[in-house]
């Protein structure tokens, strides 16, 4: 499965969330077909809650990992 990574460090909500939602919208078919995973790197703590919750309401699954200096949020088809 292909993983597309987006570095949105330096952005805070809501702009970081809007960026994530935009990419989810763009890649919605690939996500549903489970051929791609989106990986967002963020240093904004709020995104850890807002991005996974928004993804869940749209029918996607997500995983959050604590990286060296940021959080990695992966969104993929459920």
């Amino acid at each position: 499965m292909n993983t597309i990574e987006f570095d949105i460090r330096g952005q805070i909500c809501p702009s970081s969330l809007l960026t994530a939602l935009r990419e989810i919208n763009i890649h919605q078919e690939a996500l549903r077909d489970r051929v791609v995973r989106l990986r967002f790197l963020t240093d904004n703590r709020d995104c850890v809650a807002t991005i996974p919750e928004s993804a869940r309401t749209m029918g996607y699954a997500s995983e959050v990992r604590r990286e060296q200096d940021c959080y990695a949020i992966e969104v993929f088809g459920d």
């Binding site: 805070i12 909500c13 809501p14 702009s15 969330l17 809007l18 939602l21 935009r22 989810i24 919208n25 919605q28 709020d46 807002t50 919750e53 928004s54 309401t57 749209m58 029918g59």
Partner: protein
């Protein structure tokens, strides 16, 4: 509208002012529009659940370039699509659940906290005969239990009040049995709002279980109350279960039995074939009829006969089941019968041999007597003759023993006390053996009807047997006492009053396998033993209506016990008997089919001073007797052989003679010394008796005695 004066100077200013105003208007409009856009974007962001836009983060141009409304709208489309999919799944799940609810083979009832029916499925309606009646909203008490009594406690309130699941394994409604499980239904806050009850109709299962329970009861009743011994073992032979009869017969409790192996119980005397058969069964090799000998807890031998079958699981032997019957008593009786039959057949043979042998001995002993009479006492030949007579008398004793168990060898009984007889025979048998004998007899010993010679011989044999068992050391204890046997005693012994004679030694004891055969004729374990002693003793005791028992333990010794039926009569006072005269005068007729007997009898009678004639059978005797009477030379006495093969014997001839001459004096003589006629000669018309072989003095005494008597009337 502007004035014309202002068109030149004031017109530019006016235009500039108007432009400025337009710019302000447009700026205000832009700001309002952006404010509106930010406000709506913030509303959308709030719906999404994130923070509002901050002006410092995104300026208007960046905001417009980002197109947040488009982004959020796109996201909402996805949210909506996801909700639609979820709703579709929920609808499908609901329909699936409803189908399960309706088609379930179990009755399902949903009630609220007040026990009002919320829903129920078709099976529930069928179970309680509701048809299509509208029961929703009704209290389940009215519909299911058909009672409105609130005082009757409902166990299903437990779940409604506590939230805990509850199961009632046997709830009876309308005569049917239900297994009911109740589970709480909760709202989002976790509060109990009702419950679901699942009804499983177990009436058939309950009936089956009840039938099975009754069937088990019947089988258990049979199992525990049967007289047969029922058992089951595991593959290694360890006992799995036994029934009450098994426990009672072998003396073990159920718990003790379960710690035993079947092979532990096999009696040491059980033959190798039986033992191998049981081991083969445990190995899984066949089943069928089994004859086994087990040992009870108290050491008693238990003979069993029955059938066993293998219990298999997955093709392997799991153990053995069996039903046995205790045949110990019948087997013992059969052995007793076989022993009797054996004795009778051997006795018949022995009787014939003894009879013939006695005829020969009559000639031998008679000639010895005559030779002794002819020889001077100081002559060396006299001593040799005495030895020959001694040996011949020993041979006569042997024939007496043989005759004891010959057919018809009834003892010549008379009322007696065996006390003195027991003492005499014990002392006599122990003499010279080095064995110490102790005799104890009850002073008030009951009398018995016995042949003293035979009983003396029996006691002598038992004491001799005890002496020989002790290898020159030890003590023989002999006692005679009175005993009354009742139901509490050995079942093989008769009930009643008995004189008990006990001979106990502390010798080597008797091997278990030999106990079975020790009374068999010619069975002996002693080098040089005849095997007749105990057989004769057994025969004597049996012919007196008594019983003989033996208990023995290897290394500790043996105890023989004889039971003789006691008499109610007291002993008559002793009589003084005068010695019989030897010589006599007169004519004697001898009838015997054996030439040697006729010849020696004639010679002996002539030696005693009598005139003798002899004949070979009864007919000839009658004819010769009648002829002598007719010629005026009657016979003083007739000595007749009891039986004559192929002709008239003395038993028949005496009647004929007495009918012709009631005063005739007839003596009976026979090698069958134990024949009933010999015991009761007067009853058969004889005046006297003389057993073959006989010595000169015995013949003379018997003849004199007979000639001095008056014949009993016919």
């Amino acid at each position: 509208m502007t004035e014309p004066a202002d068109r030149t100077g004031g017109g530019a200013a006016a235009t500039e002012a108007a432009t400025a105003a337009e710019v302000r208007r447009l700026r205000d409009r832009h700001e309002r529009a952006m404010g509106y856009i930010r406000e709506k974007i913030n509303e959308l962001l709030k719906v999404i659940g994130t923070a509002p836009l901050r002006p410092e983060e995104l300026d208007d141009e960046t905001l417009i370039g980002l197109d947040p409304i488009g982004i959020v709208a796109g996201s909402f489309r996805q949210v909506l699509a996801h909700l639609n999919r979820t709703n579709e799944q929920l609808r499908f799940a609901r329909e699936e659940l409803q189908a399960i609810f309706d088609c379930a083979g179990l009755g399902i009832l949903v009630i609220d906290r007040d026990q009002r029916i919320v829903a129920c499925n078709a099976k529930f309606r069928e179970q309680f005969g509701m048809g299509n009646a509208d029961v929703v909203g009704h209290c389940c008490r009215e519909v299911v239990c058909q009672t409105d009594r609130p005082d009757r406690p409902c166990p299903f309130m437990h779940t409604l009040s506590t939230g805990e699941a509850y199961r009632c394994p046997d709830w009876i409604v309308g005569g049917r049995h239900y297994d009911i499980v109740e589970t709480a239904v909760r709202n989002q806050e976790g509060e109990v709002t009702g419950s679901v009850l699942v009804y499983s109709d177990i009436s058939e299962r309950f009936a089956s279980e009840e039938a099975l329970r009754r069937s088990e009861e019947r089988y258990r009743d049979l199992f525990e109350n049967t007289n047969d011994l029922i058992f089951s073992t595991r593959a290694d032979g360890s006992i799995e279960y036994v029934n009450a009869s098994w426990c009672a017969t072998l003396g073990y409790s159920q718990e003790e039995a379960e710690r035993l192996s079947l092979l532990d119980l096999v009696h040491p005397a059980c033959d190798a074939e039986c033992r191998e058969r049981l081991q083969a069964l445990l190995r899984g090799e066949g089943g069928g009829r089994v004859h086994a000998m087990l040992i009870a807890k108290n050491g008693r031998k238990v003979i069993l006969e029955g059938d066993v079958s293998l219990e298999r699981a997955s093709g392997k032997s799991r153990g053995v089941r069996g039903i046995f019957r205790d045949i110990t008593d019948s087997q013992t009786l059969e052995e007793e019968l076989r022993r009797r039959e054996k004795l009778e057949s051997v006795g018949l043979l022995a009787g014939g041999i003894a009879h013939d042998f006695n005829n020969i001995l009559t000639a031998v002993l008679g000639n010895i007597s005559l030779a002794q009479a002819a020889a001077a006492p100081e002559d060396a030949v006299h001593a040799r003759l005495a030895e020959a007579e001694k040996a011949t008398l020993a041979a006569r004793r042997l024939t007496q023993q043989l005759l004891t168990f010959s057919k018809g060898g009834s003892p010549v009984k008379r009322l007696a006390s065996v006390a003195q007889l027991v003492e005499e025979q014990t002392v006599f048998a122990c003499r010279g053996s080095g064995i110490f004998c102790q005799v104890k007899t009850d002073p008030a010993l009951w009398t018995v009807e016995v042949d003293e010679g035979q009983i003396g011989q029996a006691v002598n044999n038992l004491v001799l047997n005890a002496v020989q068992a002790m290898d020159g050391n030890g003590t023989v204890l002999v006692s005679a006492d009175n005993v009354t046997l009742g139901p509490q005693d050995d079942p093989l012994l008769p009930r009643g009053r008995f004189v008990r004679i006990t001979v106990r030694d502390n010798g080597c004891g008797i091997e278990r396998e030999n106990l079975q055969r020790m009374f068999d004729p010619y069975f002996t374990t002693k080098p040089g033993g005849s095997g007749l002693g105990l057989a004769v003793t057994y025969s004597i005791v049996k012919q007196h209506g008594g019983q003989i028992r033996v208990d023995s333990k290897i290394g500790s010794g043996s105890t023989f016990t004889v039971y003789l039926p006691a008499s109610d009569e007291a002993l008559p006072p002793p009589e003084n008997s005068a010695p019989a005269p030897q010589a006599g005068k007169g004519r004697i007729l001898v009838m015997d089919d054996e030439l040697i007997v006729r010849e020696i009898a004639a010679a002996m009678l002539q030696e005693l001073g009598y005139e003798v004639e002899s004949v070979t059978n009864g007919e000839a005797a009658i004819a010769r007797y009648e002829l002598a009477r007719a010629q005026g030379q009657p016979f003083s006495a007739v000595i007749m052989d009891l039986t004559v093969p192929g002709g008239m014997g003395g038993k028949e001839a005496v009647g004929e003679l007495r009918s012709r001459d009631p005063a005739c004096r007839v003596l009976v003589s026979s090698g069958y010394s134990n024949d009933p006629v010999m015991a009761d000669f007067a009853g058969y018309g004889f005046c006297g008796v003389i057993s073959k072989p006989y010595r000169l003095a015995e013949l003379g005494a018997a003849l004199k005695a007979a000639m001095g008597t008056t014949p009993a009337p016919q």
